[in-house]
């Protein structure tokens, strides 16, 4: 779960990492007061999209009156599909240098990874590899100050900056560890008056660990439709095609999307109905797919834990309820296959047992494909 910039900054401050003076702004009046208190400031839209600056999501205000006007213009504006509901007013900084630092999990080495660079201020993937210093953390040891001193040395920092970096990386790792962060990133890590300060920050919390961070406000990314399906408890991603797809299991769902595209069709979505979903959520998910008004609805099930008769029942439930006003292609094999196929056939739906011809047929019905 990505955290808004102001929440990420708050986490840094709570752990003793210096941040610029800032205020959360919910109304134009807040903006007025914020600039009155902290002086000329950047007003930054609190939305979870990249490239916020270029899209007009960061504007400056020198006076309280100007801040009020700017906030008026920004609050409620649309930024790459997201409505700006909050701003963060942050004092203007006289930045001397811009570094980069982050802690994340290395999936291959299965340990935390600290990345740092003297070339900060741009996305880290735009930084040449030779300018990035990587140090892996032994989780048994954690990050002690010496780790930071070694990091500073590799970066070529000395004196105050080296000392401050050593201290900062200890705290950054505490945030990563204690807050179950997938990523905690300071970019730019600014040098202001010869001291380190977190000019911008990202903090992504591990969704699976939210149960032990109950004080966190829930922030959901994604389209309204995606949020709706996530609430059913299923993984769902909107794509830009017109063949709606349901499959069970993340791998199968990905393979199904791949298969539709393989035959020249355009997948409308990724939907993992779960490895063992029961009738109700499956029916709810189908309802959402129908509401997308696709050209074709393609259901691809390999029943392991999932029972084919449950899937069939869900299909019939939706068909008799909301209705399925588009061509339907079903591939159904595995546990209770016979029962499921029989149920569908009674309703006039014939099911495929192989994935390839089923996917091909779905593409054909959508009027797409190679033929």
């Amino acid at each position: 779960m990505k955290q808004y910039e102001y929440l990420a900054k708050q986490a840094l401050r709570d752990h003793g990492i210096p941040i610029p003076p800032g205020r959360l702004v919910n109304t134009p009046e807040d903006a007025y007061q914020a600039v009155q208190e902290i002086g000329p400031a950047a007003l930054k839209a609190q939305v979870l999209v990249g490239g916020r600056g270029k899209a007009g999501g960061i504007r400056f205000a020198s006076t309280p009156d100007e801040a009020r006007d700017v906030a008026k213009a920004m609050l409620g504006m649309d930024l790459k599909g997201y409505t700006v509901e909050r701003l963060y007013a942050e004092g203007k900084l006289d930045i001397e240098r811009e570094f980069y630092i982050s802690v994340t999990t290395d999936r291959n080495k299965k340990v935390p990874l600290v990345m740092a660079s003297l070339a900060g201020g741009v996305e880290i993937e735009d930084v040449d590899d030779s300018q990035i210093v990587r140090q892996w953390v032994d989780p048994r040891v954690g990050v002690l100050p010496y780790f930071g001193r070694e990091l500073a040395q590799r970066l070529g920092l000395t004196g105050t900056l080296a000392r401050e970096l050593a201290d900062l990386v200890v705290k950054l790792y505490q945030i990563y560890r204690e807050r179950d962060a997938e990523l905690v990133e300071i970019n730019p890590l600014a040098v202001v008056n010869g001291h380190l300060m977190a000019a911008d920050a990202r903090l992504n919390i591990d969704d699976s660990a939210l149960f032990r961070h109950k004080n966190l406000e829930l922030i959901e990314e994604g389209s309204e439709l995606e949020k709706k399906v996530h609430q059913i408890g299923l993984a769902f991603v909107e794509l830009d095609g017109d063949i709606a797809i349901m499959a069970n299991g993340a791998g199968m769902a990905m393979a199904t999307v791949d298969a539709i595209q393989y035959f020249g069709g355009k997948p409308a979505n990724f939907l993992d109905a779960g490895g063992g979903a029961s009738v109700e959520p499956t029916a709810q998910a189908l309802d959402v797919l129908v509401s997308m008004k696709p050209k074709v609805l393609f259901i691809n099930i390999f029943g392991g834990i999932t029972r084919c008769d449950d899937v069939a029942t869900a299909i019939l439930q939706v068909k008799e309820g909301t209705g399925i006003p588009v061509p339907l292609v079903v591939r159904l094999v595995g546990t209770n296959e016979k029962e499921g196929v029989a149920l569908l056939e009674q309703a006039g739906i014939s099911a495929y047992s192989d994935m390839a011809p089923a996917a091909e047929r779905a593409v054909q019905l959508a009027g797409e494909g190679r033929s």
Binding site: E123, R140, A209, R212, A235, M252, A255, F270, G275, G334
Partner: protein, 291 residues
């Protein structure tokens, strides 16, 4: 005839009195697995499908000589269960739950490394050795068949699809290993491939990968000296960057983990990479013919 899990594996079920634990204990017993005990604190003395229930893994190990355990407890308690098993001497640990916090998985995997415990998962369908008639997992029993092919997969249903097509295509399996879909899991393609390399009964291997991470690229490096035919299928060809496709692991992030880079690396290492799941059997037949 198998790697990691054999008929000598004496299996405990942690969380045996829950719905999932109960159901899969029955399925495992039906398949032939040697389930010797179950754990459910406060339920010592009960039995589930004839299997005795204990309060602690420590006691269960003492009483049954168990050396393997499969964990079905809810994710927030999974770290506790995993450590209980490892500290009690369990050597093969299958972690079924999804949504285990990554920090917990890091702790589990780190400790497993210290103790020499093999962890399968978390967020896995488990491991099955058809020729040994034993499984630890939630996979359907009927789709596997004994034979010479090792399968290692990241995700569940997709591996069922492929295992079933192998079975139908006449390729039985030595062992099918589900590594699990989480960002941090106990196994890597390489660690599993090593076992397949050492197993004389495994004549060929199918890898089922997906976008995200760089496990496939690292495996490719190892495959150069593997010496047995390998067919790889990778899911997520059509996945857009930056979107999580179900698994926490399945995401193309910041230019890493693309299908192209994985495909390229595997092909260069001599693996036969297919585009669609139903092409695996033909590709395998061809690869095996060249041996």
């Amino acid at each position: 005839m198998a790697v990691l899990l054999t008929k000598n594996s004496k299996i405990l079920v942690q969380g045996i009195t829950g719905n999932q634990g109960r159901f899969h204990t029955k399925q495992m017993l039906a398949y032939g697995s040697q389930v010797v005990g179950g754990i459910s604190p406060g339920k010592a003395g009960d039995t589930v499908e004839g299997v005795p229930v204990f309060d602690t893994v420590e006691t269960a190990v003492q009483k049954t000589g168990a050396n393997a355990s499969i964990v079905f407890v809810p994710a927030p308690f999974a770290k506790d269960a995993a450590f209980e098993a490892m500290e009690s001497g369990i050597q093969l640990l299958v972690m079924i739950p999804e949504h285990i916090p990554v920090q917990d998985s890091i702790d589990i995997v780190t400790r497993a490394g210290e103790l020499g415990v093999t962890v399968i998962g978390p967020n896995t369908f488990g491991i099955i050795s058809p020729g040994e008639k034993t499984k630890m997992g939630i996979m359907p029993n009927h789709i596997y068949q004994p034979g010479p092919i090792g399968v290692v997969a990241r995700s569940g249903t997709l591996s069922y699809e492929i295992a079933f097509s192998l079975t139908n295509g006449g390729f039985g399996q030595t062992t099918v290993v589900g590594m699990g879909g989480d960002p941090v899991v106990g196994q890597t393609f390489i660690s599993v491939l090593r076992h397949f390399k050492d197993d004389p009964d495994t004549k060929g291997v199918v890898m089922v990968g997906e976008i995200g991470g760089s496990a496939e690229e690292e495996a490719a490096e190892y495959l150069k000296t593997f010496g047995k035919p390998v067919v790889a299928y990778l899911a997520g060809r059509a996945a857009p960057p930056g979107k999580r496709m179900g698994h926490a692991g399945a995401i193309i992030e910041r230019g890493r983990g693309t299908l192209e880079s994985k495909e390229k690396a595997l092909t260069a290492a001599g693996a036969s990479v297919v585009t669609m799941p139903w092409q695996v059997v033909d590709a395998l037949r061809e690869a095996m013919a060249h041996v």
